[in-house]
């Protein structure tokens, strides 16, 4: 079985699956249960400054987008940082870390953007023996109205400033958690790096209203007839998270900066994908909140099996492996030609490919009177829509047209050469090939 041991910023954990700073990691009881279930590490629910803790609403905190059979596809929440006192949290962190020395314990922190506030809290956190801190610059609701969370994460200068304080007053690794509620995630990531951050983690949750009650006309979750935007997470946000992760991994300013991947990790496969885009580990929340802590067992067994099948002996073997293949549109090979092909043995004649192509795409699928569906090569642009709407996996595939064959749509012979938009004759800014 593959070795899943992960060393992230020098912090060892038995596997790359950490629980994200969120309700599941709010207290000792939960975290002990998580470690017993097999989680490699936790990022403790965000601590605030000393004094009276924040209060939460006393009505619903969560809203969900459901798929078939009430599968949780997206979750949103309006919960704030920990509403328990700093002292209790610190005591509990100390006890848990002492009892689980082999697991990663990271403390998430959110205090005002004043040097003194950080100067006050960091030594106390350091005293717990926790392995590192994560700066919550991402929480998009409630705390951001008070000038913290996403309000900081949206101003690169603040990120850099606070990160610098943390590196000054704290000796262990500092992870900066980024908000996706921003135009270009590379800027805050670069700011964190300039401030001395050891890593970034992303994404935090996305501004969202998951539903509106059509009787009460209130956004949900509804508190006494009123709702507010919450933070969106779960499987639905994974594509957004992976894109942002890849941008940071690819940008010259931030390439090589360790990344902890967050956003909709639900299965081992999701985790593997984040890691191939440059993440050193992943953080999970919604999957645990949906299925309980036991879900990590599938993640562990699945990742191990896949690594064994691929011959990977450690996470390092495939970390960032997809980054070289992640590029800009302008560098995609325009000489590559594919055509859809329908396997008639697998086809169940539902006609979804036909409806999708005929109504919304390129009229490239023919339907016979006896419901046989075939691709019209002269029309097919290989858009892949038929592949994705077909209910039978691998029934429709995209077949590469070999060099030397003629593309029935364009009448041109497929060539082996690579050619992209930058040199295409239709591109007004094209650079003529010498």
């Amino acid at each position: 079985m593959a070795d899943l041991t992960t060393e992230f910023l020098g912090i060892k954990s038995p596997n790359p699956f950490w629980l994200a700073s969120a309700p599941p990691t709010d207290k000792e009881y939960n975290v002990r249960r998580a470690f017993e279930a097999g989680w490699g590490g936790v990022v403790w629910k965000t601590l605030g400054a000393e004094g009276p803790p924040v209060v939460n609403v006393n009505g619903p905190r969560y809203g969900v987008i459901h798929g078939a059979d009430r599968r949780v596809l997206g979750l949103n929440n309006i919960e704030l940082i920990t509403d328990r006192s700093l002292e209790i949290n610190l005591e509990e962190i100390t006890r848990v870390k002492k009892d689980y020395p082999d697991r990663a314990v990271i403390v998430s922190i959110m205090v005002p953007c004043e040097e003194q506030a950080w100067k006050d809290i960091l030594p106390k956190v350091e005293a717990t023996g926790a392995d590192g801190i994560e700066l919550n610059f991402g929480c998009p609701h409630g705390m951001s109205e008070r000038g913290m969370g996403a309000a900081v994460g949206q101003v690169p200068e603040y990120i850099e400033m606070v990160t610098r304080w943390c590196k000054q007053y704290y000796s262990k690794p500092v992870i900066v958690k980024l908000t996706p509620n921003i135009t270009d995630v590379r800027l805050p990531a670069a700011a964190a790096k300039r401030g001395g951050a050891d890593a970034v983690s992303l994404i935090n949750t996305i501004n969202s209203i998951v539903s509106v009650n059509l009787d009460s006309m209130s956004p949900e979750p509804s508190i006494d007839g009123k709702g507010t935007h919450g933070g969106y997470c779960g499987p639905a946000v994974k594509p957004i998270a992976m894109s942002m992760v890849s941008e940071i991994a690819r940008a010259p300013d931030t390439a090589g900066l360790p990344i902890s991947g967050i956003g909709g990790v639900t299965t081992w496969r999701d985790a593997a994908e984040f890691i191939t885009l440059g993440c050193g580990n992943v953080q999970v929340c919604t999957a645990a909140m949906t299925y309980g802590f036991k879900v990590v067992q599938e993640m562990i067994s699945g990742l191990s099996q896949w690594m064994d099948e691929k011959g990977h002996t450690s996470i390092q073997d495939f970390m960032g492996a997809a980054i070289p293949n992640t590029t800009d549109w302008q560098y995609l090979n325009l000489n590559y030609v594919a055509k859809a092909e329908i396997n008639q043995d697998d086809c169940i004649s539902c006609g979804r490919c036909y409806a999708a192509c005929e109504d919304t795409s390129h009229q490239a699928i023919a339907m016979s009177s006896d419901r046989k569906f075939t691709v019209i090569d002269a029309e097919c642009v290989a858009c892949n829509l038929c592949v994705e709407v077909c209910p039978v996996e691998n029934c429709i595939t995209m077949v590469e047209q070999k060099p030397g064959t003629v593309d029935a749509r364009t009448g041109k012979t497929v060539v082996d050469d690579y050619a992209n938009w930058t040199t295409h004759p239709n591109n007004p800014g094209a650079v003529a090939a010498e």
Binding site: S349, R371, P391, V392
Partner: protein
Amino acid sequence: MNSQMTPGVTARRLNDDSLRENFGDLHAPLQPHEAAVAADRCYFCHDAPCVTACPTDIDIPLFIRQISTGTPEAAATTIFDMNILGGMCARVCPTEELCEQACVREVAEGKPVEIGRLQRHATDTLMAKGVHPFERADETGKTVAVVGAGPAGLSCAHRLAMLGHNVALYDARPKAGGLNEYGIAAYKSTNDFAAKEVDWLLAIGGITLENGKALGDALNLDGLARDFDAVFLSVGLGGVNALGIDGGENDSVIDAVEFIELLRQTDDLATLPVGRNVVVIGGGMTAVDAAVQSKLLGAQNVTIAYRRGREAMSASRYEQDLAASHGVQLLFNVQPKAVLNGGSSTQIELEYTAVTNGKLAGTGETLSLSADQVFSAIGQTLTTDGGLVLEGGKIAVSERGRTNRSKVWAGGDCASGGNDLTVTAVAEGRDAAMDIHATLMGGVE
């Protein structure tokens, strides 16, 4: 109290609890969440094969999508728009041979979308609210007589009334509904559904129902054709084929149709007598309904004897399996030869059959079964043709239901074509109504 083993023919073989359980709903209705999950399996196929397979062309993908988006009432309207008896059809259609057989998921994984149960979920939801989803068009001043208030007649009458015509609906029986009321196994139409459905359907208005009036008796075709602008005949098949064997007149030989009717109309199943040993002759749905219900009433040994092989049986494989799962023995390639003796030791003698040169004939080899009751279910015949031209023993009609006589249309089991299914009768009634409408309005829309 008797038991299954009490000899002869007797009532009260089972206690009330067992009877109640046995004659409960064959398929429990889907709960809303079950319906949502079942609906989600529909692929919303293009030009869907299930629609093609439905004799009434219900837009199945659309109504299922309406269920999945939380609007079962809209789904019901989609169904009723094509099939006003969609509630009954959801219960009695052999979906395994129609929509569900054509479902692409049947092709893909052998498990079709549960179209029948979803249809029932939608129609039950709307009907439970007492809502009739259609309104009549402005009155046309035209009148139509519909003779026979079974599925074809009800469907035709409703559509005509909706289009603004006034309909006089006649039926020979004390209750409307035809085979829905009298001829379907009790566990397929529980809680008096057939009668409730008729009341709901008549809520469209413009239809006057007169019971106890039969063609050839209180009504005659010449009079109807004179008094009304059009006539639609949907009188069904009133006659029952006789066995035509030695001892066929024996008291122990009973029409399966009568037995089924008795089961449907009784107030107390416990009072119905049934034999310890029952043999049903036939291979259709009526045979299965009679056999299964005999078993459910407490008969100890029930056998369906069919003269051809399993594949030729008109009862679907699903119905055959339903019978077998209730403990009914299916005996193929045997034909009745004689009913022997009377009284408590009645036997039926069966002869094995074989097909030689395309002809079915007895082989000479026989077997005997104890048979306190023999139910005959070998088909029904037209009893009232109104002097119309026949085809294959039924009133000859065109695709639109026209008979050889002007102003007279026919549909349902009494008319040629079709397949004796409720859903087909509904389609024929509806389509004839559209043709009557077009004819009466002279092409004016």
